[in-house]
Symmetry: C2
Subunit: 250 residues, 2 copies
């Protein structure tokens, strides 16, 4: 698997569309966006050779609206076809590249993994609680209680090494970025009482802590993710309506 | 296709679980719920022989929590397997009964139809606007503006006879129940200025009006839907926190 352009600078308004070589599989990404990261991890886990185009989604390049009607990341483009939205890209990739299928072929098992991933979207819904604390530390106790509740649910739903079973699969890859955003937040002073080492904590969440560490260290995640320092800085700027540096860490 | 039990009385708390004959495909339904209706229409459109169990989801039968952890409708049960949630049942049915596949087999076309269905969930999100007007008629102008906006978007997204193309398909079947809920609401006095005959109106929404009429008259919809009178009465009772008669019209 070769991902090129992972560390390329974000293209902003006025920036030209990079020429797309025939046969190239391209993914439009935003380096700190968990939804884009879902698609990036899936592409990496499937071992697809891909060209990554990083975008500035505040000042979006004009040409990108011809790819995605709202100008959002992620989107993928190959063979003249564009598929948008992290909610649809992973399954599309399994359908289009069945030889590296991640979802089970059995209809029932596939439906169960999708349902599990759906229940884990509660983690994504908890992330705005942390944004609120980044803006106002006095909200910490109230907001982190919600985060702990969601982590407790995630711990209970984890009945094997991974949500997909003995190896990582669909529910693991598509939910990981949101757990990672909580981890990033934990590195900011006074936002949430969770450890950054052995996250989210062996005492309260023993299974989830092994799971998070295993996913974080996997090749798929390592090949597409950002450092906790850059991630936390970007999230904090986003939450507090500060200036966003899309090229942080490059 | 034989759907049995469509007009069976709703089972409530204390009611026994009907014995499931081996090989029977069963669907747990709530007659006035648009999410359950998505699954019901899909089952009907695929021509699956199914036993319908109607539920009272206010006073849920205890045994039903062993089928669905939240006790919600819809769920399907066959061959000892249970799949819950209208967001997953249609695709599961296409995977489990590929001989009557409704979604395209081509990965790109399939993804596009799912994306279109996802954009049409804006219609579902507009339905609570009508509940608000049912509770307080003074909100009509403000709330119906949102409904008209969504219908306008739906009109623009309809570029063929159906969202799926020249024949009804996935985006048509899974979005229809929410358009139908707006239609039901239009029959209540002073809720929304839309006609109940030639809904939502040939002047403003010519393509959508043909589409709605065609879907409404289809065998799949006719075999599972309720009358506009009963539907409107149930919706109004739901919106105004009145007593819900799950057996209305039986």
């Amino acid at each position: 698997m070769v991902l090129t352009g992972v560390t390329s600078k974000a293209i902003r308004k006025g920036g030209a569309e990079p020429p797309l070589a025939p046969g190239t599989f391209r993914i439009y990404n935003m380096r700190f966006c968990p939804w884009a990261e879902k698609a990036m991890i899936y592409v990496a886990a499937k071992g697809i050779d891909a060209e990554v185009i990083n975008l500035n989604v505040t000042d979006k390049p004009e040409w990108y609206f011809s790819k995605h009607y709202q100008g959002k990341a992620p989107a993928i483009e190959h063979d003249g076809k564009i598929v948008i939205d992290s909610g649809f890209i992973p399954e599309y990739l399994d359908d289009a590249f069945p030889e590296t299928r991640i979802l089970p072929t059995d209809p029932y098992e596939k439906a169960q993994q999708k349902l599990l991933a759906d229940r884990l979207t509660a983690v994504a819904h908890a992330v705005p609680c942390l944004f609120a604390v980044m803006r106002d530390r006095s909200l910490k106790d109230e907001k982190q209680a919600k985060v702990f509740e969601v982590l407790k649910m995630a711990e209970e739903l984890l009945t094997d090494d991974f949500y997909a079973g003995s190896t990582p699969g669909f529910p693991d890859y598509v939910s990981f970025p949101f757990f990672e955003k909580i981890w990033w937040s934990a590195s900011l002073d006074g936002v949430v009482d969770l450890p950054t080492s052995s996250f989210p904590g062996v005492e309260q969440y023993p299974k989830l802590t092994r799971w998070f560490s295993s996913l974080l260290e996997s090749d798929a995640v390592q090949s597409v993710t950002q450092s906790i320092r850059d991630g936390a800085e970007f999230m904090n700027a986003y939450a507090t309506h500060g200036e966003l540096n899309y090229d942080l860490g490059l």
